[in-house]
Amino acid sequence: MNSLSWPAAWRIARRDLHRRFRGLRLLLVCLFLGVGALAAIGTLTSAIRGELDAQGREILGGDLEVEVWQRPLNEAETAFLERYGTISRGLRMQAMASTASAATPIELKAVDANWPLYGTLTLDGGSTMGAPPPGQAWIAEGAAERLGIGPGDLFRIGTAEVRVGGIIENEPDRLSEGFALGQTVIVPLDLPARAGLTAPGAMYESKTRVAFRGNPDPLGVESALVQQFPDAGFDIRTRERASPGAERFVGRMGEFLTLVGLAALAIAGIGIGGGVASYLEARRGSIATLKILGATSADIARIYALQIGAAALAGSLAGLIAGVAVTPLLAQALEGLLPVRTGLVVDPPSLVRAALFGLLVALVFAAPPIMWARQFPAMALMRSRVSPLAGSWRSAALPVGIGLVEIAALALIGSPQPWLSALFLAGAAAMLGLLALLGRGIRAAAAKWPRPANPIVRAALANLHRPGSSTGALVTALGFGLAAFVLLAGVQTSLDANIARSVPDRAPDYFVLDVPRDRLGEFEAAVQAQATGADIDAVPTLRGAILSYGPKDNPQIVSQLEELPEGAWALRGERGLTYAEHLPRGNSLVAGEWWPENYSGEPLVSVDAELARAAGLKVGDYLTVGLLGVERTARIASLRRIDWESMGFNYVLVFSPNALSDAPHNLAATITLPSGTSAGGLLRELVRLFPSSSVIEVGPLLTQARDILGQVSMAILAAAGVAVLAGIAVLLGAIAAARAARLYDTVILRVLGASRRQLLMLQLAEFGLLAAVLAAVALVLGSGLAWLVIVQLFEFEWLPDWPRIFAVLGAGTVLVLAFAIGASLPLLRARPAQALRSL
């Protein structure tokens, strides 16, 4: 008989295991927190994705949607789609709505009588409707408020007058419409033309949706459509990808939060390691006895691995249950922002992934103490009661290595951006390593520090480096969470300050679309009349798709590309195009030459150097674009570097005027008001003089961006909060593990005449010192990383809000201190005589 069988080992393990996992509760709490956070993140992501998939038809408003700029579908294209089912036509554009006394930018949505093909529109008051009747509009509450109108009132869009038919409460296809630059107004399909908004060159988008008859494969229909009309410049979406932007955001956010949760679980791992070491330390007598009775080291490893495995399973299971239970609350918080399945959602893959992460982290951190415990000869265990368990890392290298590899594989497999995930994991590992080194350094420094004269401070300092002290583990565990808090606060406040302060300095106050090209002078005069000294920059604006590119004799056809080259996003769908006599502001040539003034030779184009690099384009190559159904080819005359931070109009393709100026088009303009001036009646005056133009206000967009930033920061902060909670669990575990030594010290000091107040001061001094060290480490590390993110990664200004950072750090540090003192208070109540008898 060599080793104990697993069933026999389990019988012994179960007997030795306390029914309520006494001694292993730190492990339980740490796994509960880590697995719970991961389960909640996974379940919530899946609940949103599930709803995006389930409601694909309603979100898209059809089984398939075809978008094209500046034209409706032609007869052949419409007939092709009608073969598959019922179609609904629509138009989308930026426009202005106004009354005699107010004006506001709106997102105009013109729909035909078949709209919505799926889902229902709900108006304020609960009535469900389809398209508005002729002459009426459904308007968003925000637009009604800004115009000061309500149901039954008249207002103007362009040159047409419409009546408010109702206030929109729920718009079924809102999510697929994407980022809105104004409040929605839904009108009948014929209104834009009546209002003069669809004149040739006007910027609008036509959307044609299909509700399939029968059950054809949407992807099959999509590829048939592309094959039939390869150069039509369609942007096609199917019900499976109803809102790719939202899906991409949810996917990436979910992945990022999972990684933050995993980092929190790593902190919990420190608690797991500490908890298991303390547990085995307390079991030293039992391990020795089992060895005396004939248990081999393998038997010991089996028995205690089974016990710890059982506790890990229980903790993980509790975490999974909590993660699932908390998801409906998180879903409620997200209501209105994203579609999310309500009620309890159980997503087995997410739960299995969370549980696997938890168990693997438990394996990595619990293996070393188990391996060390099994190596000790029975008599050494008996003899070294006072010294902590320690052993060679080599013995635990195999299980730890396997666990780490599996954790990395689990995190990277299925990740949408494995390199980014790998980078994050490497960064988190480096941060943990750095903190561990700092912890050691602080311990060593405390040992070498000159002994303070005050006995309380002296004892407190000694506690930081005494044998068995947890200073190293605590600096790692708590430092990570607090540094993450500082990092987030630094990044968020800097981004916020950049958006609030720096961006408005550089960005214009208004973007104006569809300024008639022959009325530019009138437009400039109108602006100057309302805001003297305003800076106006107007450029021609057209839309077209790149159809082919490359050498003249061997061009690459874009529709034949299986996959777009990395970074060549401009090849996807239609893009803004312009032409210019001179090199645009903020651009610089990196290759070739700009065309001379009044150039009239071969059509030329200047290409963004980044796109040229991604697509392999060089000066002298040719590029063909599809513009309103007509192909136009130009030779690449130069490559430009674009300063995207200039916040003005930036075009990837700028043509020589003779290449595009004959195409019908309008102008787009930016207006930058002199600092300190207000818009006054500019908006109303522009609407009156240029009813077909639309204005986008930058201020509300920045507010919207700041709101989104705030929500994202909250989500990351919540995930990082788990790291702080796990750190506090590690702290409580460390205090509990050192309880006997601390009780001994306390009792001896009481015997020597120390008062309870002095003992309390001792605890305060010790944990105050630790908290101060932690705060300093978190501040330096967190703000250093935040600086890297802001200045090096985002290339923004470093504008942290220090009072807010200190407030966040202070709150975290006080929390740590409060828990530490709270956990130490029972020691102060120890009665010397009673304690001495039991020590």
Partner: protein, 229 residues
């Protein structure tokens, strides 16, 4: 007549604990042969090396040098795990501080070595053994719910249960009052008589030593005397 091999055969056993300047030579060349079925008392003052000798003889500790054969097994060639396997079912140990598993009941404590030795009826046999030491009514009690004498009786039942040919008892009455201790000694000798095991008792109680077939006295890590009372 068939000559049975000695239960223990030790030659020039040495044990040094600690390293460098802190090294202490605890056993300094022990030669000892214990016959099968013999009862032997190891006497000596505190620090003479009695417990260390028992640790080495029972395979809890490896000697620094010398040769040792226990129940036919060459102990100096065995590693830690092989020594543990060698103990299973062959060596029973009773310790002064009982060393019961605090999280297990009396019956579970006694069943554990049987299970480690792979015996299928461990549970029932544990009950029988406890009944034999007068604790049939205490099967489900935890060590903390038993008196010192009862705990030592559980420890004896646990040591004897696998029917080992060799039993070591290290100061089995050291933590007990005189009358309880006397009862435990009776029980230990009775159980040994029933099983016919070789018994090695470490004690500094000369009366107890006198009940053994042979008394070996240790002093400063060496055998000072080896007598048959």
């Amino acid at each position: 007549m068939v000559t049975r091999p000695p239960a223990i055969e030790a030659r020039d056993l040495r044990l040094t604990l600690g390293e460098g300047e802190a090294a202490v030579e605890v056993l300094r060349g022990i030669d000892l042969s214990v016959n099968t079925g013999e009862t032997l008392a190891l006497l000596g003052p505190s620090g003479s090396g009695k417990s260390s000798l028992m640790s080495v003889l029972s395979g809890l500790e490896r000697a620094s040098s010398g040769s040792l054969t226990v129940a036919g097994a060459d102990f100096e060639r065995l590693d830690e795990d092989a020594l543990a396997r060698a103990r299973r079912g062959r060596i029973g140990i009773v310790l002064q501080a009982f060393h019961l598993l605090p999280t297990m009941t009396a019956q579970e404590n006694v069943a554990t070595p049987l299970e480690l030795a792979g015996q299928p009826d461990a549970w029932a046999r544990a009950a029988v053994e406890l009944d034999a030491v007068g604790l049939g009514h205490r099967l489900t009690h935890y060590p903390s719910q038993l008196s010192g004498g009862e705990q030592q009786r559980v420890a004896i039942a646990r040591a004897i249960a696998p029917r080992p040919p060799l039993v070591f008892a290290d100061e089995p009455t050291g933590n007990l009052d005189a009358s309880t201790g006397a009862g435990i000694v009776e029980l230990l000798f009775d159980r040994r008589a029933e099983t016919g095991a070789t018994l090695v008792i470490i004690t500094h109680d000369e009366e107890l030593a006198a009940r053994c077939d042979r008394v070996v006295t240790l002093k400063d890590g060496r055998i000072a005397s080896d007598v048959t009372p």
